[in-house]
Each structure stands twice: as C-alpha cells, then as structure tokens.
Amino acid sequence: MATRLWIVIVIGAACLSAQSPKTAKFVPSRTAFGQPDLQGVWTNATLTPLERPAALASKAFFTPAEAGAFEKQAQESNNRDRRGTDATSDLAGAYNQAWFDRGTKVVSTLRTSLIVDPDDGKIPYTADGRKRLSAAADFARAHPADGPEDLALADRCLLWATAGPPMLPGPYNSNYQIFQTPEYVAILVEMIHDVRIIPLDGRPHLASGMREWLGDSRGHWEGNTLVVETTNFTYKSHFRGATENMRLIERFTRTDADTLTYDFTVEDPATFLKPWSASIPMTKSPGPIYEYACHEGNYAIPGILGGARAQEAAAKGGK
C-alpha cells in the first residue's frame, strides 16, 4: 500500500513538472516505424517576447483581456515611424506589420514571456556574462559598419534566431518542416534554408575541437517526447551572449492535434547563473516552406557598408 502511494506521488509529480494534466493526456499518432509522429509544417510565430517586459515584472500570466491589449499595442508599435539616423538603424526600422509575420497573438498559455524558468522570466546572467555582452555592445557602437563582420549574423545571412538552436520566432518566416525516419529526425528551417539533421542512434558528439554554427545535435525518445542535446557550438553563434561551451537540451512533444510544444533549457555557467528554460507552443501551418535565398539577394551589406564609407568621406570633406 505504501509502495503504491509512493508511485502515485511520483507519477503525479512527473506530470506536474512536465506539462499540465490536460495536455499530458494527448496521445500522438505514430509513424509506420513506431515513433510518435511530429511531422508536418509548424510555426513558432508569436508576439510573446523571450524575456518578460519590465512593465510586467510581477506578472507571469496575462488575463485574456490583458493579452488582447498587449497584442493590439504590439502591432501598433510595429507600424509606428521608426526611421533611424544611420544606415543600420534605418534598415532595422524599415519594416512594419505588412512585413512582419510574428502572428497576431501571444502564446496560448498567456505567459508574459517565453521563458518559464526562472520565475521572473529573465535570462539569469552572471556578472561576467553581462560584462561580455556590454563590451560587445560597446564595440558595436564604436564599429557599426567597418566591415561585414561588424553586422548582425542575420544581416550577413549566416544564422537567424529561427534556426538557433534554440529555435526562436523571428520577425517573419518562422516556419519549420519536420521529417522522420527510424534513424534521424530532420528539421528544415525556412530561414535561411538551414537543415538540422538529428541522429537517433546514440552516437557520440563530434570531437570537442569541431565547432559548428548550429552546434552538433543528438536525439533520443523519452516516451512521446523527442529529446535533443546540442553541444559543439562555435563562439561565433553566441546565442544571447553564451560561450561556445553552451549546452542545449530541447524537448519536442505533441500536446494536442495542432500543437507541438517546444521546451528548451540552456546551460552555460560562464554566462548564466543557472540553467534557464523556455516553452513555445508551435502550431500547425498549412505550408509550404519557401526557399529563402538570403545571401543571394543580399543588397543590405553593400548598402550599409557603402553608406558608412560615403558618410565618412562626407565628414572628412568638411561637409
């Protein structure tokens, strides 16, 4: 009797820690080879920010009315005149709601941030992590456009936050297609035609000297959840200021017919005081995934760099 009670408590605790009892009941269909079927086109577009906005410091969840007001305000903000004083900020401000595709809704959980741990919805930076971030920001202010390496990875068509990993919603095209075989799960990321191919055969990670923009991912199934561990990042990816030693755990779970819940935990003791976690309900999309040939159409880099050189020449000419 005591044993049975103990089991009930353990199972109950596991359910609470994983997801709400309502969604835990969803039983996903299976592929012909017996894996939970995560396949399809999914989007993680949302108006909910990764970190909780300062104005909502004590509020972990919106009421439905508050969510509606936040959604309206977020869309209006995207449409305000945001012209900048230099080439880079002018480019960043050149988009409005007609371009953006962050959706029109906050996440269905009504959380005020995608971060679910820690409780304040903020990335728990170490002092050293903050110092590195502010040094990088200082350098960027002093050298906004000396050469292509000064520009954002997305502007350079090297890496978008949509690919990550972790995979965060971007300003537009936050779309993914998942493919499954007995040996691999593949995620085609619309931005910028990156493909994450995740082996499921328990092989070791790449040797530690081999570093990749998207890191090196290995997956396995835990019940109906695909768990992916990624290491071997390059320092150049610097996700939210993390070092190349960042370790990422992602969990993909079908939680209802139209939702793939994407949970992730980021660890990097040099940058974060403790591991932190976020949860994004990805929703079904009709597709298709388009080709986003980012680099092939990159007129921004010559525009930004050429503009900066023209400004310097004008300043030198005593204009």
Binding site: A32, G147, Q177, A186, H193, Y290, E296
Partner: protein
C-alpha cells in the same frame, strides 16, 4: 549486488539507452515498401568542373598551382556534346572566360539542380512517404521533393520545385520553377528560367545509386539532353553532414571593397 544495481541506475540516467547504441540494420526498403534511399551520398566525378569530357588544364588562379588545376574527366553527357543553340554557345564561352566573376559557386550561391548532386560535397536523403528531403552540405542547400503534386511552383527559385513519384524502384523527380541564375558546372554551362529537369534515382546495390538527369530548356538547347553518373554511399563510421556555410568565406571577396580603410 545492490551497489551494482544502483550504479547501473545512475549510469542509465547519464548515458543514452543501451538499445540506441546498437547499429540499426539498414533495410533495403522503408516501412511503406519503397526502396530505402535514406543515407549520406556523394558522387565521384569531375562533372562539377565540366559536364563534358575534358583533359586536365591549369586553373584560373595562378597562385593555387596544382591545387586549383582542373582534373581530367571522361564526361557525363550522353552523346558527349551538350546541344546548345548556336546563339547560346557564345554565352557559354563568355561565361567560361569570366568564370571567376560569374560562376555562382564562387559566391557561395545556391547550386541549383542537378548541380547540387555532383558538387564535391556529400548530401543526405531523408525519405518519408509524403516528402523526401535532400540536405546538401554545400552552402546548407536543401530541397523538399513533394510526393503529391502541389500544382505549379508558386515562385521561381534557385533549387526549383521538386515533385516525385515512384516508377518501379526508381524515384523520378520532376523539377520546375527555376530562376535563371544557377550554372551546371564551373565551365560556364548554363540555362534559362525555362529549365525543366527530370531526375531518376535508381538503387544499384546496397551502397550505390544510379543518377540520371534529363535537361530541357527551349531557350538554350536544341533538344533535351541527359547526364548520368553513379552516386555512392558514404560508409565512414558515424558519418554526418558537416556545415559548409561558405557565405562567411566569400564576404571579403564580395564586400571587401566597402571595408573601412585603416589609417596608416
């Protein structure tokens, strides 16, 4: 005994499940009974230098010496010659003469089809009943083959729109919706946006495929023509596609002229 069990319990938390570490037997057929094309593949030809037969020659960059020289190739074009329209031959020649500036590969642009297949990089096929993903190591290029025709391509693209079906044990892929930007090789062989490619992937033993592509473009060629070559499975232990995000490697070439000059 208890200590051993406890230690094993701790280990099982830390390490992946033991079953996952055994090699999954490679089946000749997928669960839906189709030939199993899953795997990491690569061609072994000099087709990317020139689809047509060619003797070895010096490369376009003197400093690269033997590294940059063109290896000889027997050619992969059926009937040896690509049937260019007379007026198209001149453009092919001009492309070759100015290849350092014009070859999309120099700029790390998407390779198009069929060039993606015979770039000197591996590619991975991820095969499902409804969609077959081909992920190419070169430039992180990718394409999805729709096994159900979604209708005309919504927009022109570098990699085109691929629609597949099975002809016996051969995967036949009809590719349309191309732009006119990609080339077929480093020799300047090119096409227009009227390009139509029909590929055939046929299993040829457990570790090779025969690849054929029929190329049609009424603006550039007098008739359809065909290339063929074997594709081999990469058999190294734990082989995986690596990143070749070459955009970073061409920034100085493409944007160096806009770099801020450092005062001397």
């Amino acid at each position: 005994m208890i200590a051993v069990a406890a230690a094993a319990g701790v280990l099982s938390l830390a390490a992946p499940p033991v079953a996952a570490q055994t090699t999954i037997a490679r089946s000749a057929r997928t669960a839906d009974g189709k030939p199993n094309l899953n795997g990491i593949w690569q061609v072994l030809t000099e087709a990317n230098w020139d689809l047509q037969g060619h003797a070895a020659a010096a490369g376009p960059i003197i400093q690269l010496g033997a590294i940059g020289a063109m290896p000889p190739g027997l050619g992969v074009v059926e009937g040896e010659e690509i049937p260019y329209k007379p007026e198209a031959v001149a453009k092919r020649k001009a492309n070759f003469a100015d290849r350092l500036k014009l070859d999309p590969e120099v700029k790390c642009y998407l390779p198009g089809v069929p060039r993606a297949t015979y770039m000197p990089f591996p590619f991975q096929i991820v095969q499902t009943p409804q969609f077959i993903l081909i992920s190419y190591e070169y430039a992180s290029a990718a394409r999805t083959i729709y096994m159900k025709d979604p209708g005309p391509a919504p927009v022109d693209s570098w990699m085109g729109q691929s629609v597949g079906h099975w002809d016996g044990d051969t995967l036949v892929v009809d590719v349309t919706g191309f732009n006119d930007q990609s080339w077929f090789d480093r020799a300047g062989d090119y096409h227009s946006d009227a390009l139509h490619v029909v590929e055939r992937y046929t299993p040829h033993g457990p570790d090779s495929l025969m690849y054929e592509a029929t190329i049609e473009d009424k603006n550039v060629f007098t008739k359809p023509w065909k290339i063929s070559m074997p594709v081999y499975r990469r058999l190294e232990k734990n082989v995986q596609l690596m990143e070749f995000k070459c955009v970073e490697f061409v920034e100085e070439l493409m944007y160096g002229e806009y770099r801020k000059k450092v005062a001397k």
